[in-house]
């Protein structure tokens, strides 16, 4: 299955969520892999969180720290810049993906690097850094096991944390035998991991430039951190003589001590562990230890647009834990590819349209990829009210259609119907008149106390649900007959 459709961050028309979801839902193997994986991690996370008597206090502190940072983001970024420079690092600013890629490629070329090693970074997926480096004659090696798997398969990630969640062990075995020339390989996960270890160790030892993302960076001290499991993050940030880190501007946190909040929230929410196997913290350059040249690239790429929306702003609280993916009933069935973005699941449904802007058909469909059940909000370690933002964005999508659609938009049947409905609902006489009209109009449709199929364009609504008919007598009518008065309640 070739899954390299243009995503929300590349050019071209991205398919809508509904179109892509239909394809994913037809893939039985994918659904089996996903179901097993999300159920496992959901149960594990619940145990890891239950162990913490102060989980709610930590969530609240996390939310508040992010809110503080975002409200004063300019000051914190300037402080971060100063701290990193003081510690011997260099800081670059990038307005968008193209500028970020250009800066990183420039650094690699200045060291005549033909190969670079990378630790999993969604920011670099967002900018399509690997493709850009390739066009400049530089080969980028993904070193996270899952990233290696999807890079070898020529696919894209389907989960923030477990990018190859859609692949099972026998598919991975096939891939390694084909692409890495491994022979006599079993499908035992330790054997598969060992093949990757041997292949990548060689890359680590000779790489001149390492590239990473950042989970957090502290304004006060300039300390950047990468949270991981395998040790490839340690390799990439320690062994090559030059290190380049790309981070979204929202990843800054105020002080060193604030790690005490986020380093409790993140591991339990993402891998459901008390602590992830490895976390690296580095402050600029340390003499005689690790890279002697460090570049930090601060990237906007749409984040200031998200910041500009007072309701949408909380989306930037996200610490990329992926807990919301694992609890989402929609994600569990469609998987990550249906979202056509490097940010899948509930967080992707609100982050992607805000980053790329409303008005692209593909990403405009994302706020609707939810049943609004609220499970994502409940597990979010930094309390992003995802349902609230989803509804807010749905409103923006509709308004955009009205504003930008011209005469065609104004005459769009859905639009006309909604406008008429808004008028009817805001006027008592019109509303009661409509009820009487509906009672007469519905008789050919209502069968046994339910409407099973609406006619014409409305049929879509009843495709998946029944509709209750308008009752013989409304509450207002009953109230009036009971009191013998003409006044309805609360009118």
């Amino acid at each position: 299955m070739e899954i390299k459709a243009p995503d929300a961050f590349s050019g071209g028309k991205t398919p809508s969520f509904e179109e892509s979801a239909r394809e994913s839902l037809a893939d039985a193997q994918l659904r089996r892999n996903l179901g097993k994986a999300t159920q496992t991690i959901r149960a594990k996370r619940a145990v890891a969180v239950e162990e913490m008597p102060d989980w709610e206090q930590l969530r609240e502190a996390g939310r508040a720290l992010k809110s503080r940072t975002l409200r004063h983001l300019d000051e914190y970024l300037l402080q971060l810049e100063e701290s990193v420079k003081r510690a011997g690092g260099q800081v670059h600013w990038a307005r968008d993906a193209e500028e970020a890629n250009g800066i990183i490629a420039g650094i690699a070329k200045s060291h005549e690097a033909k190969e670079v090693v990378k630790v999993k970074s969604i920011a670099t997926d967002e900018t399509k850094l690997n493709e850009h480096l390739e066009s400049e004659g530089i080969e980028a090696f993904e070193t996270d096991l899952a990233e290696l798997i999807i890079q070898l398969a020529g696919e894209t990630s389907s989960h923030i944390l477990v990018p190859a969640i859609h692949k099972n062990r026998s598919e991975i075995r096939e891939l390694f035998m084909q692409k890495l020339g491994a022979r006599d390989l079993s499908d035992d996960p330790p054997d598969l991991a060992n093949v990757a270890r041997l292949y990548l160790r060689e890359k680590f030892l000779k790489a001149k430039v390492g590239i990473s993302g950042a989970n957090f960076a502290v304004a006060e001290t300039g300390t950047v951190c990468v949270v991981e499991s395998e040790g490839n993050g340690r390799m990439c940030t320690t062994l090559p003589p030059v290190l380049v880190t790309l981070m979204g501007i929202e990843k800054v946190i105020p002080t060193w001590r604030d790690y005490e909040v986020f380093m409790q929230l993140l591991p339990r929410s993402s891998t459901a562990e008390r602590m992830n196997p490895y976390t690296s913290f580095w402050t600029g350059v340390s003499e005689g230890d690790g890279p002697q040249e460090f570049h930090l690239v601060l990237m906007d790429n749409g984040r200031t647009e998200v910041l500009d929306d007072e309701i949408g702003r909380q989306t930037l609280n996200c610490i990329r834990c992926s807990a919301c993916l694992n609890v989402c009933p929609v994600y569990e069935r469609t998987g990550g590819h249906a979202y056509n973005s490097v940010y899948p699941g509930p967080i992707g449904a609100i982050l992607t349209p805000q980053l790329v802007g409303i008005g692209k058909p593909g990403s405009d469909s994302l706020p609707y990829a939810s049943s609004l059940c609220g499970a994502c909000y409940e597990v979010c370690p930094v309390k992003i009210n995802i349902p609230e933002v989803l509804i807010h964005l749905r409103g923006k999508v509709v308004r955009h259609k009205q504003d930008e659609g011209g005469i065609k938009g104004k005459l769009d049947p859905e639009n006309v119907a909604m406008k008429a409905m808004a008028k009817t609902f805001s006027d008592r006489r019109l509303y009661e008149g409509a009820q009487r009209a509906a009672r007469i109009g519905q008789w050919p449709l209502a069968r046994g106390g339910a409407i099973h199929r609406l006619p014409g364009r409305l049929a879509g609504w009843t495709e998946a649900r029944e509709l209750r008919p308008v009752p013989e007598q409304t509450f207002r009518e009953w109230w009036r007959s009971r009191n013998g008065s003409a006044e309805g309640p609360g009118s």
């Binding site: 496992t40 070193t143 477990v162 062990r169 330790p190 790690y259 891998t271 913290f281 200031t304």
Partner: protein
């Protein structure tokens, strides 16, 4: 800043630098924030636990238990027995070449093993580290709540590559180095970070991945075996 950006492929032709423009965009986007509001004015309620009040013995026992839950091997030993415990661990593992960081107590070093000493002026090459059989270090801290070992590139730990390339890490943790909760660890590390700015590594069990069907597999890139000696 502008020169650096130009040198590395930033866009020099534009009127304002990327830095100025991003800062401008942020200020425009946060126009709802009152001008006289300071960052510290935004309330942050820190109602979470800061300190584990349990008895010391309980804190240390929990540390041992939780390190072991990550599939690391844990032994609790007395100070006097430490050299023997180290020698036994190396023998069990069949170590011939052992990497030794600067500042490691000489009394810990086992006999009959070739020592690869990493020096400040004479650093071992990555290939030497990769080809060794293991590394012996101390640590900066242990965190009981999470079973985490913290290295801060200080005394008896050495630079980061030493504990990364060898496939076996034998780590000595003194009981008094074990703190209760995560916030206690960050508090203790604050001075190191603000002072010398040394790199800090949190290690919770051996290298692992859950990338294949979410099965935890020990050892992809880091040391596949972690053995911990907790010294009373």
């Amino acid at each position: 800043m502008v020169e650096v950006e130009e040198r590395f492929g930033g866009r020099p032709g534009l009127m304002t630098s990327a830095r100025e423009e991003i800062l401008h965009r942020i200020r425009r986007a946060t126009h709802d924030v009152p001008k006289d509001e300071h960052a510290e004015d935004v309330p942050v309620e820190r109602g979470y636990r800061k300190r584990d009040e349990a008895p010391r013995e309980e804190i240390v026992a929990r540390f041992a238990e939780r390190v072991a839950e990550y599939e690391a091997t844990v032994h609790r030993v007395n100070e006097d027995d430490l050299p023997r415990a180290i020698a036994e661990a190396c023998e069990r593992r069949g170590i011939e070449q052992l990497v030794v960081p600067p500042g490691l107590p000489e009394g810990w070093l086992p006999d009959g093993v070739e020592l690869l000493r990493d020096g400040v002026s004479m650093q071992l090459s990555n290939e030497e580290l990769d080809g060794s059989d293991g590394v012996l270090t101390g640590c900066a801290l242990g965190i009981s709540q999470t079973g985490t070992i913290v290295l801060d590139a200080g005394e008896a730990q050495g630079r980061r590559a030493l504990t990364l390339l060898p496939d076996y890490h034998l780590c000595v943790v003194r009981e008094e180095q074990v703190v209760g909760l995560v916030p206690e660890a960050f508090q203790r590390l604050e001075e190191t970070v603000k002072g010398e700015g040394r790199a800090i590594t949190f290690i919770s069990g051996p290298s692992a991945t859950s990338d294949i069907e979410l099965n935890r597999v020990e050892g992809v890139h880091g040391p596949r075996t972690l053995e911990v000696l907790i010294v009373a």
